[in-house]
């Protein structure tokens, strides 16, 4: 979709046009689902969270003023919603990091495991402890700064940096094993 087509679709969707919103959904579902899956590590939960994201986007769309690009605005909603769900997910909070190995969704990760190092890395990310994984995903894959991550995860900026450093060390260790 061109920028003009996106603008038109946004305006139509703001007026309640579901077909236009479907176009926007198709355009962005891949990126939204990616962050949801990487944070939740579970296909069913990632699907549920992705749907929740788009319902929120639909509800908030009339308030979108175009101060930032639509993609940026949508991605911000997706990140915050995914983190809220990730935080609510008690399973991740109470699991011993050493036992996390193998708990993530093998089917989804299989979709990228054929891609050499990237596939191995995708699986290794899911073996990370919950907070280190969240920090790593947000910083290395989603492009957030540590200050923003600290705010999103309600942790200190220094903790975010430490968790990222720890995540990289663990990933290198996991990948060395394989």
């Amino acid at each position: 979709m061109s920028a003009e087509e996106i603008t038109n679709a946004v305006q139509l969707a703001q007026g309640g046009d579901r077909k236009a919103f479907h176009l926007l959904y198709q355009q962005h579902v891949g990126r939204v689902y990616a962050i949801c899956w990487r944070l939740m590590g579970d296909r069913q939960k990632a699907e549920d969270v992705s749907q929740e994201v788009f319902v929120k986007v639909w509800q908030c769309l009339p308030d979108f003023k175009g101060d930032s690009s639509f993609a940026t605005w949508l991605h911000s909603i997706a990140t915050r919603t995914a983190i809220d769900c990730w935080r609510r997910d008690k399973r991740l909070s109470f699991v011993d990091p050493d036992q996390i190995d193998g708990m993530f969704d093998q089917d989804q990760s299989a979709a990228v495991t054929d891609n050499g190092d990237a596939g191995d890395l995708e699986q290794a990310i899911q073996r990370l402890p919950a907070q280190a994984k969240a920090v790593f995903v947000l910083f290395a894959l989603e492009g957030y700064q540590h200050k923003e991550i600290a705010e999103l995860l309600s942790i200190a900026e220094g903790s975010s940096k430490a968790q990222y450093h720890r995540a990289r060390q663990l990933l290198r260790g996991f990948l060395r094993e394989e």
Binding site: Y33, Q51, G116, A118, R168
Partner: protein, 181 residues
Amino acid sequence: MKSEQELDQAIAALPREMQPQRDLWRDLEKQLPERRHVRKRQMSLVNQALALAAVLALVVVVSWRVLVVPDNADMPVATTDVPDPVDDQLPPQYAIVQQYETLVAEQQGMLSRSTGFVGDWQYQLATWDSAIGQLRTALDYYPDDPQLLAQMQGLYAQQLDYLHLISSVEPNGYYYSGEEL
């Protein structure tokens, strides 16, 4: 993977998008609430109509002052004791503004307690304010134009007269002229 550089390369190779294994749209569409955009649009049209009416009223008032009442002699005279607008320290228009704004503010302060019975007095005052604003803009270009100064003084006088009038009306509708004292 042995080096940081190799890890960075692997991170860069990760896909930024993943497609869900099933179509989420069908379930999603059922969850989308109806949008009440029609009502919002109607409100917007009402606001537009009100704005248009206010602009037209302003144009009529200003036009009437400029075209029908051309000189100072025909201007209505304030019934209140208003100080002489001429002030050696200030340009004439600022002297007028300073003197009348104080009186208008004092009069408005007296009104604030019970004004529900006199209708749209705030709208009326706003109309005068707008007209005065237009004249002030004109006076910025022609600061010594006697006709413009007289018109501005006349508008202030009308506004003050109106404020005196509505402050003399009791909530029960009785007109209090002041002569009873």
